[in-house]
């Protein structure tokens, strides 16, 4: 496509461009270019569910291409509306095909929610993180169910590293005191594992609090304003990613599979 043709296409409106389909591939490209930000925006709304942003963006882009090919000008609907529906459908199907979210038995999801609900109060009453048995008693479940629910929460909702930092109200790392000597340690560590530097702020904060300030998961949960189970997920996911970055060829532990609890 020549530069001139590109400029001309940019001046056309959507309807005119759609009128040139399916023959004109340049028109198709121009439509893709215009609506790619929509795909990107929608992909981001699905982050934090254990899929990389790149993968989600790819799925969303595919949805956009399908939408362009199937859009019917005679229908009384804006293309952006039609595209959004198609893209979201594609993203949802992607998660369904992966077997996530839907495969965690409802019973375990409910127990997981109950654990999150009782943990802060129970921890406060005891002055420490409760044991599995103590949580079980409070949740009206048995210890096995608690362990299963904890495991299931890891399997289906691993927090994405690309999730925008601070989305859960993460405390910015600066707030924690930049003249803290352990902050220097983290910097030093970054020279051993440069990937540390590339981590989103929330992941870095959690990592720093756990491994350099020695806070427990419950304490971090309070500090950062997320649930203990979420902290646990962030830690395991971040460590997994760092391991991969430090040693790309190294075998990486698979995320917990759900087969054994289904």
């Amino acid at each position: 496509m020549t530069a001139r043709a590109r400029v001309d296409l940019q001046e056309l409106d959507e309807r005119e461009l759609f009128g040139m389909l399916p023959k004109d591939t340049a028109a198709r490209e121009e439509l893709t270019r215009r609506f790619l930000p929509l795909a990107e925006y929608l992909a981001r709304r699905f982050s934090g569910r254990g899929e990389s942003q790149d993968d989600l963006f790819q799925v969303a882009s595919l949805g956009l291409l399908n939408a362009i090919d199937r859009f019917d000008l005679s229908r009384d609907v804006q293309f952006s509306t039609y595209a959004a529906v198609t893209i979201v459908g594609e993203l949802k199907r992607h998660f369904r095909d992966k077997g996530w979210a839907v495969r965690v038995p409802r019973r375990l999801q409910e127990i997981g929610l109950r654990i999150n609900a009782v943990l802060p109060e129970l921890s406060q009453q005891l002055g420490r993180s409760p044991t599995i048995d103590e949580i079980a008693a409070r949740c009206d479940a048995n210890a096995e169910e608690i362990l299963e629910a904890m495991e299931a929460s890891h399997a289906y909702a691993t927090s994405s590293l690309d999730a925008p930092a601070g989305e859960d109200g993460a405390a910015p790392i600066e707030v924690l005191g930049s003249d803290d000597p352990s902050m220097e340690l983290l910097e030093e560590w970054a020279s051993v594992a440069p990937a540390v530097r590339d981590l989103p702020q929330r992941e870095r904060t959690v990592l720093y609090l756990r491994f350099f300030r020695g806070l427990t998961q419950s304490e971090i949960a309070r500090e950062v304003g997320v649930s203990q189970m979420h902290v646990s997920r962030i830690l395991s996911q971040t460590l997994r990613e760092l391991r991969e970055a430090v040693n790309p060829g190294a075998p990486v532990a698979e995320p917990e599979l759900l087969e054994e609890i289904d």
Binding site: T131, P251, E254
Partner: protein, 134 residues
């Protein structure tokens, strides 16, 4: 309330492949969950086993088998993760500067790189909660 495991030990031997690490993680959590350990401690152990196994798997010599030994003692749980391939340099030189070491030592009261029948092993010790509080 707590199952008294006395000095019971649970031993496991599985193929040394990454897709099996979750089995060790789950068994560790299941055994730890029966002891007077906090939720945080149980999760720490899960992370530590993950890390130890990843560390052992990355060793040269392609280990064939993972061994996991969980021993409950009156005041602590000792977890040993080991492979079956003897190695020349264990603990590896400069291990104190690694991500692995930093992570492991923060997750447990004590972590030791040992030899088990001449093969690399990592021993992780987690103290249990005393009956009268912390």
């Amino acid at each position: 309330m707590f199952t008294d495991l006395g000095t019971d030990s649970v031993r496991l031997s599985i193929p040394a492949r990454s897709e099996y690490i979750h089995v060790l993680r789950s068994v560790t959590a299941a055994v730890a969950g029966r002891l007077p350990l906090s939720l945080d401690d149980v999760d720490d152990l899960r992370l530590a086993v993950d890390e130890a196994c990843a560390r052992l798997l990355a060793l040269p010599g392609e280990p064939a088998t993972f061994r996991l030994d969980l021993r409950s003692l009156p005041d602590r749980l000792e977890v040993v993760a080991a492979v079956d391939t003897p190695t020349q340099t264990w603990p590896p030189i400069g291990f104190e500067d690694t991500l692995s070491w930093r992570v492991l030592s923060a997750l447990a009261e004590s972590v030791r790189f040992e030899l088990w029948n001449g093969a690399p092993a990592i021993r992780i010790v987690k103290r249990t909660i005393s009956r009268n509080g912390r």
